[in-house]
Point group: C2
Chain length 179, copies 2
């Protein structure tokens, strides 16, 4: 069993995926993790449209929404996914200020669950939201948020991306560090 620290440390966003399928059952486990995230008024604004390479037509649709640059590596992933955020609260139709934020939290849970299963995910801002809406028939109420490639690790990669130290992101009692 891996500790949460190990999962957080191990996770990274690869550009090379192994030629190894990810099953529907495995994907179900990822969504099980995502669905337990907290959300404003328990709205659960997150949605996911996904396709495996076993469904080439659906897979190609998702792939076609990704920028050409990202397609180069993303097309090796056995699974492509699009995350969506529901823009208004279902209970009163008011705008949900935290729809994207809460979708991000659900993604955080999904990513760490994936790492536990030796799966890796790489999210992309580089895709065409309007095209996604058209190609996938996404209702106006949902924002296309991010594309994601999921699979097993392919060739070796250096995962180390520099991160800001804690004293550059957390400040006690005041905002001086932000200035």
């Amino acid at each position: 069993m891996k500790s949460i620290d190990t999962l957080i440390e191990q996770r990274f966003s690869p550009k090379h995926f192994a030629d190894r399928a990810v099953s529907e059952e495995q994907l179900h486990q990822l969504f099980e993790a995502a669905r337990r995230a907290p959300s404003s008024f328990n709205e659960q604004p997150w949605r996911f449209i996904y396709a495996t390479q076993e469904h080439p037509e659906a897979y190609q649709k998702l792939l076609s929404c990704i920028s050409e640059h990202n397609q180069q590596w993303a097309k090796s992933a056995p699974v492509l996914m699009l995350s969506l955020a529901k823009k208004h609260f279902s209970r009163n139709e008011k705008p949900n200020r935290h729809a994207w934020h809460d979708t991000g939290t659900a993604i955080g849970f999904l990513l760490l669950k994936a790492t536990e299963m030796d799966l890796y995910a790489h999210q992309m801002a580089g895709f065409n939201p309007e095209k996604a809406r058209e190609v996938l028939g996404i209702p106006n109420e949902y924002d296309p948020v991010a594309m994601m490639a999921v699979g097993y690790l392919g060739e070796e990669e250096n995962p180390n991306k520099l991160r800001k130290p804690v004293n550059e992101i957390a400040f006690t009692g005041n905002s001086h560090g932000l200035l």
Copy 2:
């Protein structure tokens, strides 16, 4: 050691905190988890302003930004926090479409790390962002995102909030379930 499934299952947002302090070292561990989250162009847009009850002036400032309804229970928390999102990319000053989303992912990591440490967090949308900006002197470049109360569990609570099943949040290849 707790599995990721256990952490996800155990986590909930309590309304009663024990009269037990959370140390700076523990808070540092939470931010260590948050800072490793993925973000668009590795921007790391998340920031946190926090105060413990050991610093009453700073604590009261944060508390004063919370809605009266939420203050009733939040004031029992040994730590209050405000998450912030940096609105533009530092590298080119363009708007960061994923600033809130990525902040949400960092929060996801923080929440599961907290659970591993037997800490619980309760986020609040019910606060006054304009007041927070004023009271805490937050530069315009940062959006106040959510307040958070953190501490050990107080009295027993029923944590069970209903969640949508996977087949209501994840759809293979199309958006039919969204309609």
